[in-house]
C-alpha cells in the first residue's frame, strides 16, 4: 500500500483529521496520481489552495506523488 502524508495549514486544516493534524492518503495502486488528483479526491477546493509543498519544496499541481512523500497544503494569502 502506497501512502503519502498530507499536512494542512490555516483554514485548510478543516480538510484534515479532526484535530487538523497530519492525514494519510493512500495512492491507488494502478494509476498515476498528481497533486491535483489528490486535492479533488480529498474535496479541497482548488481555488482556496495556494502553495503546495512536496518534501519541503514548492511543487506544481501536476507533480506526481510517490510513496512516502510529505505534502503541505497552504491557503491562498494576501498582504504581507
Amino acid at each position: 500500500m502506497s501512502i503519502v502524508k498530507v499536512d494542512f495549514r490555516g483554514p485548510l486544516t478543516r480538510y484534515g483529521n479532526n484535530d487538523g493534524s497530519l492525514s494519510e492518503y493512500e495512492l491507488p495502486a494502478d494509476s498515476v496520481v498528481t497533486v491535483q488528483d489528490m486535492l479533488d479526491k480529498l474535496g479541497v477546493p482548488s481555488h482556496h489552495v495556494g502553495l503546495v509543498a512536496v518534501n519541503g519544496q514548492k511543487a506544481a499541481r501536476s507533480t506526481v506523488l510517490k510513496e512516502g512523500y510529505k505534502i503541505i497544503l497552504f491557503p491562498v494569502v494576501a498582504g504581507g
Binding site: 495549514r9 490555516g10 482556496h48 495556494g50 502553495l51 514548492k58 497552504f74 491562498v76 498582504g79 504581507g80
Partner: protein, 586 residues
C-alpha cells in the same frame, strides 16, 4: 458624508492650534490615508526640506471608511518626508487610534514646526492642547502609554515614540497600543526631531454616512461572502508567521543577510511553533480577522512576532531561537525601533564581520550580541552609534555595498528577489525604498503558480498591484483583506452617497502612485535609484529550491524599461506630460 470635514493643524514652534476644513477637491481625488496625505505633503512642503528640520511635517490621517462598520478599516496613516532617505514616506499603524481620531472630530492632523521643549498632543472631543512631556522623555513606549492612559483615562488611544525616536535614529518607528507600529522609514525620528513624544486621542462622537441601511447591507454581505471565507481566514488562524514555512519551501526566506533563501532552523520560527507559544489574539477596530497573536515564550512576551521580524530578525541573522526573536521584537517595540531595519542592519554587520570588513561584535547566530544591539542603537551608545547609520550608512563608511541589502536607503524586508523576480521590481520602484507594502507579487510568484524566475508579465503585475495597494491604503483597508475594486466601490457608495465605480478607484490608485513619484522626482530621485544591490544580480543563491539563481541584470533592466513604458514614464523614470494629464496631476 464619510468625512468629518475637519483638519487639526498644530504648529509646534508657536504652540498655535487651529481647525480648518478638509480640502474636498483633494478628498474627491485622493480619498484619504496615503493618497490624501501625500497630496497635502506635496503641496505644503518646500522641495529640498531637510526631513529633520522644522520645515518637515507629519500628517496623521484617517479615510472615508475609518470609524464605520466597514471591516478591516481601523488603521491610521502617517505621512511625512523620510529621514532615512528623503523620499515620501507613508506608513500605517493598526489598533483603534484612527477611529478614535474621527470620533474626536477630525479627519486628519498636521504637525508642523518644532517644539522648544518635549511635548505631547492631547485631542479630546474636538479640543486639542499641547502638554509638557519632560517626565516621559527617555521612557519606553510601553511605559509611556501606560502613564498617559493613567492621566487621560483607559478609553484614550496613544501613539508614541520610544528613546530611538527621541535620539533621532533614522529607522525609529511609532507605536500604538503597546505593540502596533508604523514601522518603516523613520517617522519616529521625525517625531523626535520635533520634540513631540506622543499623541493621545479620546473621542465619543460618530461618523455620518449617507445611506446607513445601504452600508449595513453592503458590509454584512462583504463580511459573509468575502472577508470571513477561506480566502482571508489564514490571517486569523495563523497570521503572518505562516509565511515562514511558505518562504522556506519556495526558496525566498532571507537567511544570513540574503546569502541563502532557506534556513535550516526555520521550523522553530514557523507557525506551528508560534501556535504552541500563543497566549491570545488581538484585532484592530472593526476587524473581523484579528491577525494579532500574543506570544509568550520563556521569559519573553510580545504581540507578534510578525513574519517580517521572524525572517529579518530571525533567519536573516542566523537566529533559530524563537524566544530570542520574541525578546528582540519586544525590545524594538519598547525602544521604538523598526524591527525590519534593525534586523537587516544587524545582519549586514554580521556579514561585515564574516567578510573581515569591520567587526562590530555581531556574529550570525549569536543571540547575546544580537539582543544587546537594539538598546545600544536607541541610546546611541558604543557600537550602537555605528549601527544607527543603517545598512546604507554602514556600507558607505566601511564598504560591502554589493551586499548592503537596501534600496534608496531602506533596508530589505523578508522576501528574496532572486526567488521572486517581480518582487525585485517592486523593491526597486517602491517610493519609500525596499518595501513590501507597495506591491507584493510574491503571493503570485513564489507562493502561487506564476513562474518566479522570469520577467515576462511582471512589469504589468507589479504596476497593477502598486495601484491596488495605493488605493487600498488611501481608503485605508487592511492589506490582509484580499477584496476587489468592485467590492471597495460597493462599500464606498453608501458612505459617500454617490455611485462609485471600480474604474474610478483603480485610476485613483494610479494617480496616487504617480504623485508619489512626482514627489520623489522633485527631491532629486531618478531612474538610477530604481535598482537593487549587486548581490541580487551577481551572486547565485546558496542551497534550496532556488540554488544558483540570480536575477540577471539585463533581465531586470528589460523589466524596468517595460514598466516605465507601461506607466507612461520616460526612460529616466519621470512621468510624461500625457500621463500627468490623464491622471489629473497637472
Amino acid at each position: 458624508m464619510g468625512y468629518i470635514n475637519s483638519v487639526l493643524r498644530v504648529n509646534l514652534t508657536t504652540g498655535e492650534i487651529s481647525r480648518e476644513g478638509l480640502n474636498r477637491k483633494w478628498a474627491d481625488l485622493y480619498y484619504g490615508g496615503k493618497g490624501l496625505g501625500i497630496k497635502y505633503l506635496y503641496q505644503e512642503l518646500e522641495p529640498g526640506t531637510d526631513p529633520l528640520s522644522d520645515g518637515n511635517k507629519i500628517i496623521l490621517l484617517t479615510g472615508p471608511f475609518t470609524g464605520t462598520i466597514v471591516p478591516c478599516s481601523g488603521k491610521l496613516s502617517v505621512v511625512t518626508k523620510s529621514p532615512l532617505n528623503g523620499a515620501a514616506l507613508d506608513c500605517s499603524v493598526g489598533g483603534n487610534i484612527a477611529g478614535e481620531l474621527k470620533y474626536a472630530g477630525y479627519d486628519m492632523v498636521i504637525l508642523e514646526g518644532k517644539s522648544p521643549e518635549p511635548v505631547y498632543l492631547v485631542i479630546e472631543d474636538g479640543e486639542a492642547s499641547l502638554m509638557e512631556a519632560g517626565f516621559l522623555w527617555g521612557r519606553g513606549t510601553l511605559d509611556t502609554e501606560k502613564e498617559l492612559l493613567k492621566l487621560h483615562g483607559e478609553g484614550a488611544r496613544v501613539l508614541s515614540i520610544g528613546p530611538a525616536g527621541e535620539n533621532i535614529i533614522p529607522y525609529a518607528c511609532l507605536t500604538s497600543e503597546l505593540y502596533r507600529q508604523a514601522g518603516r522609514g523613520g517617522a519616529g525620528a521625525v517625531f523626535g526631531s520635533k520634540n513631540i513624544k506622543a499623541v493621545v486621542v479620546r473621542g465619543t462622537g460618530g461618523v455620518g454616512v449617507a445611506d446607513m441601511p445601504g452600508l449595513l447591507k453592503a458590509a454584512q454581505k462583504a463580511m459573509r461572502e468575502d472577508l470571513l471565507t477561506d480566502t482571508n481566514l489564514w490571517a486569523y488562524t495563523d497570521g503572518t508567521p505562516m509565511l515562514v514555512e511558505m518562504s522556506q519551501n519556495s526558496g525566498i526566506l532571507p537567511t544570513r543577510n540574503f546569502q541563502q533563501a532557506t534556513f535550516e532552523g526555520f521550523e522553530s520560527l514557523a507557525s506551528p511553533s508560534m501556535q504552541k507559544a500563543r497566549a491570545g489574539k488581538k484585532a484592530c477596530l472593526s476587524c473581523g480577522l484579528g491577525c494579532g497573536n500574543y506570544t509568550v515564550k520563556g521569559a519573553a512576551r510580545v504581540e507578534g512576532p510578525e513574519y517580517e521580524t521572524l525572517s529579518i530578525g530571525g533567519s536573516n541573522c542566523g537566529i533559530a531561537d524563537l524566544e530570542a526573536v520574541v525578546k528582540f521584537n519586544a525590545l524594538c517595540d519598547d525602544l521604538g525601533l523598526d524591527t525590519i531595519s534593525m534586523g537587516s542592519t544587524i545582519a549586514f554587520a554580521m556579514e561585515m564581520t564574516e567578510k573581515g570588513i569591520k567587526d562590530l561584535g555581531l556574529r550570525f547566530g549569536d543571540v547575546s550580541s544580537y539582543l544587546e544591539a537594539p538598546e545600544l542603537v536607541a541610546f546611541r551608545k558604543g557600537k550602537g552609534m555605528e549601527l544607527a547609520l543603517g545598512v546604507r550608512g554602514l556600507s558607505e563608511r566601511y564598504g560591502g555595498r554589493e551586499f548592503a541589502m537596501q534600496v534608496k536607503g531602506l533596508e530589505f524586508p523578508g522576501y528574496e528577489p532572486r526567488g521572486s523576480w517581480g518582487m525585485g521590481l517592486a523593491y526597486a520602484t517602491a517610493p519609500r525604498g525596499a518595501c513590501h507594502m507597495s506591491a507584493w507579487p510574491v503571493a503570485e510568484e513564489a507562493y502561487g503558480e506564476r513562474d518566479p524566475y522570469t520577467v515576462e508579465g511582471k512589469a504589468g503585475l507589479v504596476a497593477d498591484l502598486q495601484h491596488y495597494n495605493a488605493l487600498k491604503f488611501s481608503l485605508i483597508l487592511c492589506d490582509f483583506w484580499a477584496l476587489s475594486f468592485d467590492l471597495m466601490a460597493e462599500l464606498l457608495t453608501p458612505i459617500l452617497g454617490r455611485e462609485v465605480a471600480a474604474g474610478e478607484l483603480e485610476l485613483a490608485g494610479e494617480r496616487i502612485f504617480n504623485l508619489l513619484r512626482l514627489f520623489n522626482t522633485r527631491e532629486g530621485f531618478t531612474g538610477k535609484d530604481d535598482t537593487l544591490p549587486d548581490r541580487i544580480f551577481n551572486q547565485g543563491l546558496v542551497g534550496g529550491p532556488g540554488a544558483g539563481k540570480i536575477l540577471p541584470r539585463e533581465e531586470f533592466t528589460k523589466m524596468l524599461g517595460e514598466y516605465y513604458r507601461l506607466r507612461g514614464w520616460d526612460a529616466n523614470g519621470i512621468p510624461e506630460k500625457d500621463t500627468l494629464i490623464r491622471l489629473e496631476l497637472t
